[in-house]
Subunit: 361 residues, 2 copies
Amino acid sequence: MEEYKYLAIVEWGKNYIAKEHLQPNDRFLSEKELCTIHGVSRQTVRQALKCLENENVISRVRGSGTYVKNVAVQQSEQPKRVGVISTYFSDYIFPQIVTGIERVLNDAGIVMQLSTTHNQVYEEAQALRTMIANGVQGLIVEPSKSALPNPNMQLYREIKEQHIPLVFFNAKYPWSDFPYVAMDDEAAGEIVTNYLFDCGHQRISGIFALDDIQGHKRYGGFMKSCIAHNIRTAEKDVLWFATAEKSYIFKYARTKLLEMLVNSTAIVCYNDELAVNLLRFCRENDIKVPDDVSVVGIDDSKFSTLCDVPLTTVHHPHKVLGERVARKLIEQMNAPEDAQDDVIFHPELIVRDSVRSFERR
Amino acid sequence: MEEYKYLAIVEWGKNYIAKEHLQPNDRFLSEKELCTIHGVSRQTVRQALKCLENENVISRVRGSGTYVKNVAVQQSEQPKRVGVISTYFSDYIFPQIVTGIERVLNDAGIVMQLSTTHNQVYEEAQALRTMIANGVQGLIVEPSKSALPNPNMQLYREIKEQHIPLVFFNAKYPWSDFPYVAMDDEAAGEIVTNYLFDCGHQRISGIFALDDIQGHKRYGGFMKSCIAHNIRTAEKDVLWFATAEKSYIFKYARTKLLEMLVNSTAIVCYNDELAVNLLRFCRENDIKVPDDVSVVGIDDSKFSTLCDVPLTTVHHPHKVLGERVARKLIEQMNAPEDAQDDVIFHPELIVRDSVRSFERR
DNA sequence: TTTTTTTGGATGTATGTACAAATCGAAAAT
DNA sequence: ATTTTCGATTTGTACATACATCCAAAAAAA
C-alpha cells in the first residue's frame, strides 16, 4: 500500500501498538529488532521512528530504548474553550449569572475563558480579538453600551464569517443577528410602573440609563404604563444617566433629583443598584422611604433585601438566565444553523417595603 | 559553542536569515551550498534543515529548494492562557479577588480561564486535568479542603514536572512547594481575640472551619491569644464545622451553640459569612448583639457592613491580594526559578458595632 | 550487604554513496 | 508562437559504516 518503506513502518508500528495492547510507558521494539523484522537498514527504521515521535506516539530515550506514549493524550483532544465577555462580573447580579454559565459549561466539559469590558467598547474589542486569536469554539457576550453606535461591527462580522457560535445575554446589538437571552425589560418597566399606579400613585418619575438597550426598554415600559394610565409624563420627570457616571449623578444632578423627589410620590429606578443609591441619597436629605416617596428597582439583586428599606423590585432570573445562555450556546455549537431564536424571560414583581400604598385600588 | 555540528548549523541558519533580512518565501541556501560552507556531509545539513523545518523557520519543496517561512507567524503566537481555579467566585470576597486577578492578567494580555471547585477535591482534580490538557501557561489555585489529605498530589507533581508555573492563594497544601499569597490567618485570629480581651471579655468562644488551613490558622491565633491572656479554653468552647455544612450547623449544633452563647460574652467566628449567619441565629433566639453577646468576624466582606449590626472584623486585602497573586504568577512565568517566596499580607482590625466594651482597659 | 566498576545494548551523531522524484528553465520540435 | 523534450538542479528515500553517548543490569570489589 505504502509507497515508501519508512511510511509503511510507521503504519505498521501504530497497528503493532494497538494489536499488542501496549500501555503507556511500555517498551517498544528496538531499532535493531525492527531492522530484522522489516529487512531494512537502521537509517530507514530511524526515519520511521522519528515520524512516530513527531506524532507523539512514542518517545525515545538515548541509551534506554523506545517507549509508548500516553495513547489517551493522542485520542482525547483538547477540551473545548468558550469565551465569556461580560461588562462586570464581581458586582450586582453578575456573579450569579456567570455562576450559572460556568455550571453548565463545566458539566459539558467546556472550559470558560472570562473577560470583562467594564462597559467600554474598546475593552470589548480587545476581549473579542483576544478570544478569536485564542481559537475559542464559542462566545457568550453581554454587549457594552448597546444603545449607542458600536465600532466593533466589523469584529462581529468576522465572527460570523468564521462561523464561531455566539449568544448575547441581557441585551443585543440591534444590527446583529446573533440570538440572545434576556429578561423582557420593557415588561419589567411596565410591571413596576403599573404597580405604582395600582397603589394610587399619580406623580411618578423615572431614572434610566441612556447608553444601553436595557435602559431604553425599561424606559419604554415605564412610558407605556404612563400612557395607559393617561399620565402625560413631561421630559422633566425622567432623568437619564450614562452608566459610567452612575455614582456621580447624585452630585451633579442633585438639584434636579431633589426637585423630582419633591414633585413625585414615586420613582422608578433603572435597576436595584441605582435604587439603593437613591435610598441613601434620600436618607442623607431627610426624605423618608416609603412615607415621603416610594422607590422601585428592577433586577432583584442581593442588595435589594439587605438595604435599610427592603426594595420592591422585579425578579431577574440571574442564575437560570446564565444557565440558559450557556445551554443556548452549546445547542448552537452542536447544530449551527438551528436554534437561532431568542429566549425571553418574563419578569415577576417582588413586593417588599419601599412602596407606600394609598389604599385605593 | 554548540556541541553538535547540526545544531550549530541550525543556529547559524537562523542568524543568516536575520542578517540577510530574508523575507518570507525568499529562497534559502541549498543543501549543497550549506555542505561546502560548513564543510560537513549532506546528511548533517539535512538533519539541521529538518530541525529548522520543525521549528517552522523554513519549508522545503522537493525539486525546487528551501524557502523562508513567515517570520511573523513565528513571533506573534497565541495569547497566553492562565487557569484560575478557586473554590467559589460568585459569593463573599471571591468576586473581588478574582476581579483583581483578572485586571492584572488582562493588562498583561493574558487570557483567564476560570473554574470553580465548590471546595470539592474531585472537582479540583477535574479542573486541574482540564487546564493541563488545555495547555495553560500558568495556574492560580485556591486549594480545596487544604487541611485534609488531598488525593491530587500526583497531579501537582505532574504540574511541577511539566514546569507549569503555579501560585496558590488564601492557603497552600503543606506538602507542596509552590509559592502562595495569603493573609496572615493566624495573626487575624489573634488580633480579633486580643481585641475582645482588650474590651474586657473573659469568656470567649470560637467557631472554626475544620477542613481548611485558614480555619486551623485562625484557630491557632485564637488559642495563642487565649493562652497569652491565661485563659484555659476548654474543648467545649470551640465549635468545629465542615465548610460544606456551614449553613446547617445552626440546626444540628443548635443546643451546643445556644450553650456557647449563654456561657460566653464573645464569639470569634471563622469568617464574616459565618458571623452574619450567627447574627441571624441570635436574632431568631432573642439574643442581642452586642448587648448579650459580642461577635467578631474575619475578612471584612461586603456583608459585614450591610447586616443589622455592622460587624467588627479584620480587613482582608481582597482585590489587592488578587492583583498580587496574578503579578506573582507573571513573575514566575518570566523567571521560573526565581520568586519562589510567599507573600503574606498583614491583617488589620476594623472596629464596628458588634463588640460590647466593658470599659476596662 | 553495599558500593563501585564493567559491560552489553540502546539511541544519537556524522559521513559516504546511490538512486528516486519533483521542479524549472533552456533547447528542440511542432 | 506554442508545445514538447531534455537535462541540470534540488530535495527525498534508502542503505552502509563508524563512533559517541547514555542507560541499566550484571559483575566485581569493598
